[in-house]
Symmetry: C2
Subunit: 248 residues, 2 copies
Amino acid sequence: MPRYRLTLEYDGRPYVGWQRQENGYSVQEALERAAFGLTGRATPTVAAGRTDSGVHATGQVCHLDIERDFAPDRLRAALNAYLKDESVVVLQAARAGEDFNARFSATGRAYLYRILNRRAQPTLDKGRVWWHPRTLDADAMHEAARVLLGTHDFSSFRATECQAASPVKTLDRLDVVRVGDEVQMIVEARSFLHHQVRNFAGSLALVGCGKWSAGDLQQALEARDRRLGGPTAPPDGLYLTRVEYPPA
Amino acid sequence: MPRYRLTLEYDGRPYVGWQRQENGYSVQEALERAAFGLTGRATPTVAAGRTDSGVHATGQVCHLDIERDFAPDRLRAALNAYLKDESVVVLQAARAGEDFNARFSATGRAYLYRILNRRAQPTLDKGRVWWHPRTLDADAMHEAARVLLGTHDFSSFRATECQAASPVKTLDRLDVVRVGDEVQMIVEARSFLHHQVRNFAGSLALVGCGKWSAGDLQQALEARDRRLGGPTAPPDGLYLTRVEYPPA
């Protein structure tokens, strides 16, 4: 049966997260309903990143199998027609090999975390940024974040309900830049622990407003204890922006 | 009575436009309710641009008179506290001279018009961009727009209900640039006719997708007849970004 790879954009606000759940409407369910509308068959999907409730995506990737042979652009258009009242769209569709798995074939994931750093609350970006009225020093955050790069036991930044087999991950990039009123974090790794990016954001915000030094961040990392990591920043500012795969 | 100048940001979607109206809730009413909450008195406001329903602002300016002497930052914080359930905020407050008038002292206004130019409908930017799935040539739009610069009778781009005394305006800037999936128009003039920027956007989109040549745009301008101008683009993509005043 032909396998397809889809690149998705979604506004996370109306959904309980990527994953199908008993107690709410998920991005996965919205997409699978669209696929059912198109094919008349139950069509399971597998995504690269199981984003939480309220987390957005501009480059989530999933795969699904459809009996019919679709030209990729027609598949995209047909699914988007079924998705017209949703906050999910297919940006791109492509044929994939039968051994392609959106989750297990991924070799890298990139996230953006947006902090609106000004006195006035957000209007146009409500629900799409973390509002942090106290002034943040983005350069200090960037400098401090150097200690997080590389391979570490990230237990201090791992949600207690995280199901990963090991707390050891390799962080490839964590850049903090100011863009006007916003402080943006760009984070890349092969894979992440649950809440890892939001826990980085919460901890680095403590550095940015002077409550933590770079040394405090390092101590938090070395403690390997979630109780000594910083607070979890809200989902509003988080975007899954890209998933990497080996060249086909 | 002390006069204050406020710089405002708002999401235009929940409002019938800037101006108070019998048949709906306006940005002006939201702001005047906040000012009433703070002062206990009816506090009329005057804005630089009377944005239409659904039009956004990142730099609207208005003035109002308040009996009490406020430190500008405290006035901003107090109004924003009253505005916390609205989609309007005060970005900046400043004392102004008693002859300052947000509308009549303005010497320039700048607008941004955002077009999402891709096949998939918007999700995160729904209501905040004009979705135009057919590919646009931003360079051709920019080139064609040169004929609009300078002083012209803009009757072809003027809403029939426009109340301006004259259809002659001087256009100082109209740049069209592509930014990823977006085509953005940046437009500046001392003042504008009703719907002028949205009519420019609708007409330039015809150029961008090859339905109009640059010569067609010039003919439309020279016809001085609204029936020969292009369609009015939706309010979703329009932002009042800046108002200029003479140095105090």
